[in-house]
Structure formats: C-alpha cells, structure tokens
Amino acid sequence: MLIFSVFKTLTDQQVTVELKNDLSITGVLKSVDQFLNIRLDNITVLDETRHPHMMAVKNCFIRGSVVRYVQLPAEHVDTQLLEDATRREAQTQTKR
C-alpha cells in the first residue's frame, strides 16, 4: 500500500519504466493501481531502432508484473517521509 501511495504522489511526473524484457519506456505517469499497473502518456522508447514497432505508440498501459524498475524523479521524492512511513507500516505489519 505504501509504494502504491508513493506512485500516486508521482502522477503527472516523467518516469522511466524498465520492463523484464529490457524495454525501457519513458513517459508521463497518468495513473497507477494497487497491482502497480501503470498508465503512461506521451511515451518514448529508449532504443527506438531496436523496437521499431513501438514508434507509433503514444500511450500505454503496463501490467505491474512485467516491470523490473521504475526510475523516479528524485526531486519529487521526500526520502525522510518515505522512511518514516515505511517504519510505521512495518510496525502495523508485525502487530498483526
């Protein structure tokens, strides 16, 4: 739930999603759900010559399970807030 919230705060920011098939897609994060499925607008593929079939694609929906990494804009991530929220969530997990 915590990571889901982080992504929600990053909507309308530019992110780069690296998939498990090594395809890297940069675009504007439009929405995210609890499975960390991601919708990107205005996308560009990192190595377009290797993936010519992606050139015409302007927006896409990415299934969460095929994501390897997401590169986030560091200036929009409050690391102190993240650490506090993680500790809080870890505590509620162990209490159960």
């Binding site: 739930m1 915590l2 990571i3 982080v6 992504f7 498990k20 960390l36 969460g64 399970s65 994501v67 390897r68 990494y69 997401v70 590169q71 986030l72 804009p73 560091a74 991530v77 690391t79 993240l82 650490e83 929220a85 993680t86 500790r87 969530e89 870890a90 997990q93 162990t94």
Partner: protein, 93 residues
C-alpha cells in the same frame, strides 16, 4: 534470545534497520546493485537512491565462459519485489 539489544525479531527487521543506509541487493537476471534504502514493503518492493547497478553478462565461449560487467547509475529507483533475491545491510567494518 536477547531481543532488546538488537531489535531483531523477524527477518524484515534486518531490512528495517537498514533504512537510510547503503544496502547491497542481489536480483534475478545476474544483476546486483547498491543504493540507499528509503522504502520497502512486504513484497520486497524497494525504493533506493544513488543506485549503482551491476549487470553480469555471461557469454559462453568454446572453451570457457567469459563474464563482462556493465555498470550504470540511477538517481532514484523503484525495484519490483519479485526480482529481488537478497538484501544485505551495509558492512560495518
């Protein structure tokens, strides 16, 4: 078991105590990285900053396999938990 001195009761506590410290992460697909840990959850999804990723590219030769290493750096990175093999706290030497 002396819990009070270490604060470690379950495996995730080891990761919790590594928050805001540089950790080593081993991933599927011959990848490793170090970065400063800022967030994690029960799936081992991670958010790291100041990341250096190392990719081992193994090419099988006629006689022996050769390993090439590719490195790259990233500012702020989310790592999906299903790719994580292990998270190791910083070495305190």
């Amino acid at each position: 078991m002396d819990v009070s001195s270490t604060g470690i009761q379950e495996p995730f506590d080891l990761i919790r105590l590594s928050l805001s410290e540089r950790v080593f992460v081993k991933l599927r697909g011959d990848r490793e990285m170090t970065g400063i840990l800022h967030a994690y959850d029960g799936h081992m999804n991670l958010i790291l900053s100041d990341v250096e990723e190392t990719i081992m590219i193994v090419s099988e030769g006629e006689q022996q396999a050769t390993v090439n290493v590719a490195k790259r750096k990233m500012d702020m990175l989310f790592v999906r938990g299903d790719g994580v093999i292990l998270v190791s706290p910083p070495s305190r030497t």
